[in-house]
Amino acid sequence: MTSVRLAWRYLRGRGVRSLLTTLAVVFGVMLIFGLNGITPTLVEVFNRSLLATAGQVDLRVTSSFNQPFEVTVLQQVARTPGIASASPQVQRTVPLPSDPDRPLADQVTQLIMIGIDPASAAQIRDLTLVRGRALAVADADVAVLSADLAGRLGLSIGDRLTVPSAVGTTGLTVLGLLSPATVPGQETVYLPLSAAQRLFGFGGRITAVEAAFEPGTVREVVEAAVRRAVGEGYDVGGLSTNSSLLASLQVGTFAFTMFGVFALATAGFIIMNSFRAVVAERRREIGMLRAIGARRATITRMFLVESLIQGIIGTGLGIAAGWGMATALFAFMSPLFERLLHQSLGDPVFAPSSWALAIGLGVGVTVAAALLPARAAGRVTPMEAMRPQVGESYQRKVGLRAWLGAAMLLLSVFALTTGISELVGWSAVVFLIGAALTAPAAVSPLADWFGAVIDLAFAREGAIARSNLQRNPGRSAITVTSVMLGLASIVAMLTVVTAVFAGFTSYITRSMSADYLVIPQSIILSQGNVAAGPRLASEVRRAEGIGAVSTLRLAQGRVGGAAVQVIGIDPVGYREVADFEWNNPSTDAALDQLGSGRWLIANGIYASQNGLRVGQQVDLDTPSGPRIYHVAGIGNDYLNAKLSTVYVSQANLARDFAVTADLLVMANRVPGADPTSVTAAMTAIVADYPAFRLYEAAQWRDEQLVTFDSTIIIFYSLIAALALPSLLALVNTLAISVLGRTREIGMLRAVGATRRQIRRMVIAESLLLSLIGTVFGVLAGLWLGYALVSAMSAIGWPMPYSFPWGGIALTAGVGMVFGLLAAFVPARSAARLDVVRALHHE
């Protein structure tokens, strides 16, 4: 009871100090909670669209190879016990020509065309109309679509919607408008099954069967029965998760989580620092309490209660701030997401686990950080009430810890050399702890070295500032460590972002090195783009001034039950227009091998997921049965860098997958040909294929780089948003360390230091601390960045590491500026101290 009241009174009575400590908690919790609201929401957005594509149906049967199949499958499903009704479906994504008159953000670039059987679909799918009428059995070339989509396409009932088809283009009359029940970002158009089959040239075949369960059936049992009924080659259930997006998100989530952990670790250090200062200041009061009969436990409890109250308040405010941060970030990112992914972000979603984590960590770390100082307070002897000991001894254990820290630094170097991705990730963490442990021992010599620099500007005050640091290496080390953590994360994130974008730029220039690209309006690999027959490529080959031409073809295969995208390339022609980004030790020789039998090239992600080596056997399930391939090499091209992909020769693709259509045509000009006339000829050819668009490669690369630039802005603003709290925490720590020396400053004033000298002394000390912290932070950040880039390479996403000179300069600048800012307020208040009051400062 007493400890609670005392704790509360101290918190209120020492407002500035309490505020600064609490702010540290607020920042830490804000990051953890905010990030936990952001990343799952992003994952959720993607999952939501995937689930919606699967529809609100109980069961969906599709071809494992993304091929149309015979309608007999429908009867097999319908006859299975537990199935109430089944309905056939044809689904294809078609691109729409871009409209130069509309802004990019408003454009609809693709439509998901779903052909349904009006009779049976009504029992499975609920399509709610707002206007017009529903599809009927007798209907031919008609469509219903959501009112929202119709608005964006400028259509109303009775208008014609023109879509690319197997026979050129087809016009569909809009019959009805649906309520906007479908998920944002999915531009879906429903049409009669027969019309869809004609549109895509499927004959009587379908691409999916949707079914509803009888009431009270067990999902697993029915799914297993359906699987037995339809046999091999079909997927039963929802769609397989989109691995590329999830893989990218996992890397992103890891990086963000690391940020949050850093922030909280920083907060922990600050809280500990703050409580150590508080205990040192209150030694005499603690001694008195002990003298008049307070038990050790009472004293310890008092400090713990103080930290608990701050933890609770800080966590509460931090959660509010984190919510605000996530909301603001979403408001900023939403337009970009709508433009790039056609997805609406909505609001951040905070799962119960996010709340639990934020509250647990916020309160837990605060109390844990206060634990050591609180125990130290309990050990203050009552005699201190009579003859207070000045200051506190930090010297013990510094040497031991430094050795331990040095050992950890060595260990992390060793872990990095192993090249094992998990170890590499951990080595970064070990490095940080090692740096934190060596910091107290390193502060003193470093202060001497950097002191010389500071002395240039602050000749006399610099010496006092330096001795202030060295007299209390423990306190200085904590400040240095929190500066280090804050800045290290900035350097590391900048390194990773730079590497990712440098990697993509390099992929683009290598694998998209052809002069002309003819590609579908939006490439959504593995989702059934409209492909072109052999006529397009042969027309391009015959065009005046065109030299080498090569194409990419696409099929779906499975290895050990998992889907993999199979790209068919022409091993000879491919090299003339593009190149692979090879993973060691593969070379162009792998391409030659593709033509000499069933060889494949695996991309990095796929190879690392399955532990593939060159020469290894891969059992590939194809529509014509299982086939044995061998790995010729491991390499990446830009388009498929993030998808599990294998490359085979187009000859093998035709034989095993029966795919001969081109998805993408690449062509080079003959040297010396006039670019303008060649481009004109190409434009004329592509004009007959509305699903395709002609890009001059240079222009295409520029367009991709523009997209990168907008994405990189998102990343930089994220880094800024996340770094700011760490930097405010730095201000906080420095302010606390000045606050803790009020009496000392009063003494200096008493023996004749001028206000100006005091001000300069505080600034010099702050600069010295942030300088040392910046050096530690840059070193740790370089290490962390290198480790993260290596870890990403190890999971099959090779990124060129480039030394972040710009990042270092920026970080050093930021460190110094914040060192000055941090000193500003404390320096002013220190200089204004009333000497007498300061000397009696309790």
Binding site: M1, R9, R284, M288, A291, G293, T381, M383, M386, R387
Partner: protein
């Protein structure tokens, strides 16, 4: 005057037996306190004087159970402190001893009455503040009950400290240079207050001081040098009594 430690009918509040405290060992050993026997009867006001380093504060620390002796023992109400653990000593200190320090040592964020009530609240007493208020009125601060330490003068702060020392109705009050941080007028007032504590309210008071004028408020003067008691004499209540005693002991 000196009371007989053996009398069961009039037990001493405090008794030290051959109390010693040594720091270090061998050649460099310092005998801060060297075999001190001292007895205080209930209601007795004793001043302890001596040059710096004579062992006054060490004596006070040992009696208050703040420090442990190298040898010898402290008996409070007949209870040997050596027989008690830290928590028991702490409890004894809370209930039977009151402290008055040179630097007041009030908690700056608590009001006068909350400071005075601290030992009681630490003990979980229900009407702690009511009882503390009574003591604040007795020491003449009935109108400053809700003020915080920084709103009080030095003399007033020390009165709060005295009220705090008395709030648990202790048998013994230990005062360590209680006037050392005060001007002479406030110092005299505090000394008079301590006189009242012993004479009127019946506590035993042991006060360490450097100031002979302050010491003369006590009824008995103990003189120390080099960790030993070199003089133990009754005082007649005149302001010059302590100074004369010190001159006789060759301490001035």
């Amino acid at each position: 005057m000196s009371s007989d430690p053996g009398l069961a009918t009039n037990p001493a509040t405090l008794q030290t037996i051959a109390l010693s405290k040594h720091y270090g060992s061998g050649e460099t050993a310092v005998r801060a306190l060297d075999g001190v026997d001292l007895t205080l009867a209930p209601g007795e006001f004793v001043a302890v004087m001596g040059p710096s380093g004579c062992g006054k504060s060490t004596l006070l620390n040992l009696i208050g159970g703040l420090d442990t002796p190298t040898s010898g023992s402290v008996r409070l109400d007949g209870q040997d402190l050596n027989d008690l653990g830290d928590d028991k000593v702490t409890e004894l200190r809370r209930r039977r001893i009151g402290f008055v320090f040179q630097f007041f040592n009030l908690i700056p964020v608590l009001s006068a009455v909350e400071n005075a009530a601290l030992p009681l609240t630490l003990d979980g007493v229900r009407d702690a503040e009511a009882r503390a208020t009574v003591w604040l009125q007795r020491v003449g601060l009935g109108d400053r009950v809700r003020n915080r330490p920084d709103e009080l003068s030095g003399g007033q702060q020390q009165r709060v400290a005295v009220a705090r020392a008395l709030s648990t109705e202790p048998a013994l009050v230990l005062a360590d240079e209680p006037t050392g941080n005060l001007d002479s007028r406030s110092g005299a007032e505090i000394a008079a207050l301590l006189q009242q504590v012993a004479g009127e309210w019946g506590r035993s008071v042991l006060m360490v001081t450097h100031d002979p004028r302050i010491a003369s408020y006590a009824g008995r003067l103990v003189l120390m040098r080099d960790g030993k008691i070199i003089g133990d004499t009754g005082l007649d209540g005149t302001r010059e009594a302590a100074r004369r005693a010190m001159e006789e002991a060759d301490l001035l």
